[in-house]
Amino acid sequence: MSSEGIWILAEQFAGRVLPVSFELLRRGRELADKRGAQLSAMVFGHDIDAAGLQELVDRGADRVVATEAPQLEHFLVQPYAACMLTLLDEYRPEIVIAAATTTGRTLMPYVAAKAYVGLTADCTVLDIDPETGGLLQTRPAIGGNILATITTPDRRPQMATVRPHSTRPAEPTPGRTGEIIRRSAPADCPAGGAEFLEFIPETSEHHLEDADFVVAVGRGIKKSENIPVAEDLADALDAALGASREVVDRGWLSYPHQVGLSGKTITPRLYVALGVSGSIQHLAGMQTAETIVAVNSDPEAQIFRVADVGIVGDLFEVAPVLAQRLREIQNGKSEIRNPKFETNTKHEIRNTKQTRDSKS
């Protein structure tokens, strides 16, 4: 039944297709090729930018179905779910994957509950079972200390949300062709019982969820007056600022900065932890980051368990030096010294990379 195809839920904001959709295209393309199936993207919105729809094709979709209506302009779960259920009914997908964003993690369970199908949250690995052709959905559990692989034996579509940043966006192939269908939401698409009033943008320049680079502070920062030490490093790296629960609970940084079980789960390319002890809760929110650098004065700190490089030392000594050296390199005033390290560790680092690539 591979003709039913693989679908991704592309996301838009203010009519522009969001980059997280391109990560899903990479995942979806791999699955579709393994199944010998078509890859389609569904997107819901109002006046969606045509270039964005074409970009979905350029980056791997064979078909794009854009459902548009004024009540779809902003994410509201009821009208979105109604339109998505209409699509599922019409196209009968085999697999639907979405990003584990606030939208994906709201819409997918709402739809899966209505359709009585299986849904696996926040997967980091998706694969096709060579025997059954079914979707193997692997996700971290118990604070990332185990990985559970989950299947949906009977009910279709098989649905999963995928952790944002857990894979690279698919590359565009200019001139790639695909079908783009723009359609209006069904006339009976309900507005639902929720009304969008306004969007209040976060004032900080970098949002944790979208950041490639994150500098996070833990209790080791000692007091709110010391936060600028971390801010300065974040600035040098062009990174977003994260925080452990203790830092937020003490009011040194606001809740949107919190990383971990009771905060945000993120997978940046680089995570620099300053004075973060590394509780299970914190690790659960960041240990899938691609590269982790930890600075902590306690050589036994749990954060070192998940770090690639750990500096055992005083963050107030280390962070300013790191920030300064980064600025020197950016300004072309300095090269990286210590080539010996490079040759010594090349092999080790490459191994680490392979392990991670083979997982994704």
Binding site: Q78, G118, L119, I142, G144, P153, F196, I200, E202, L270
Partner: protein, 265 residues
């Protein structure tokens, strides 16, 4: 307002240590507690109750010992509690769990608001809240970080989403899932504890609910866990000491070399 708060009992992971040899959680002495994120849901319900009157009912699906979590909710100030417990519920995935919870809410009758924690700290799916809303055909707002006043059969809430906050007006009845910013959970009072101890908590089984037997538990669950494995330790932390200016400079250079190697600069 009549408010239902579905809660979950989870293992206490705050002080959990990992066994370095086996990489598994050291379970000895690990207590069961109310999912910490559910406390924010309970607190918001209690605050609304204090301001606008009504009733707060805590419900939980789980084994018999989950009654302890419900007693804790009562000790915090919930008016009543119901335990949903039956062997037929065992092995439920999020769909089958939501199915039982929504059936219980239906049985409770007129409900204005359902408030859930954003996710449980053990399963970490965050799926049960939205699924209950879907099964009851209710409007829902997830990731609610601020509750603004109810007005004329509606409520106004703020959702914490990527890049900012979405402000919504929801028609009641509705379902919310909340993040920790929404409230500051109170501690149970001694009087609350005494009242909770004496409280009679009904246990509803499958037969007490309007449910189809083939949608319950493992049988009714669309998903199956087929494998549990430990993540390969892909990282071997290279620990560097920074005791003085020279060792700090050297350590920083090693970090920069790694970042350069990985094309992060």
């Amino acid at each position: 307002m009549r408010i239902v708060v579905p809660i979950k009992q989870v293992p206490e992971t705050d002080n959990v240590k990992m066994d370095e040899q086996t990489g598994t959680m050291v379970r000895e002495g690990v207590e069961s507690i109310i999912n910490p994120l559910d406390l924010y849901a309970i607190e918001l319900a209690l605050v609304l109750h204090e301001q606008y009157g009504g009733e707060v009912i805590a419900i939980s699906m789980g084994p018999a010992q989950a009654i302890r979590a419900l007693r804790e909710a009562l000790a915090m100030g919930c008016d009543s509690a119901v335990l949903l417990s039956d062997r037929a519920f065992a092995g439920s995935d999020t769909w089958a769990t939501s199915y039982v919870l929504q059936a219980a809410i239906r049985r409770l009758g007129d409900v204005d608001l359902i408030i859930c924690g954003e996710r449980a700290t053990d399963g970490e799916t965050g799926q049960v809240g939205p699924a209950i809303a879907a099964m009851l055909d209710l409007p829902a707002a997830t990731y609610v970080s601020q509750f603004e006043a109810p007005e004329d059969g509606h409520i106004r809430v703020r959702r914490l989403v990527e890049g900012g906050w979405q402000v919504l007006r929801l028609k009641l009845p509705a379902l919310l899932t909340v993040v920790k910013e929404v409230s500051q959970p109170r501690l149970p009072t001694l009087r609350g504890k005494q009242r909770a101890k004496a409280a009679d908590i009904p246990v509803w089984q499958a037969g007490d609910l309007d449910v189809e037997a083939d949608k319950l538990g493992l049988v009714g669950s669309p998903t199956r866990v087929v494998r549990i494995h430990r993540p390969k330790v892909a990282r071997q932390c290279r620990k560097l000491r920074a005791n003085d200016a020279d060792s700090t400079a050297a350590a920083v250079d090693e970090v920069l070399t790694l970042l350069n190697e990985r094309e992060l600069l």
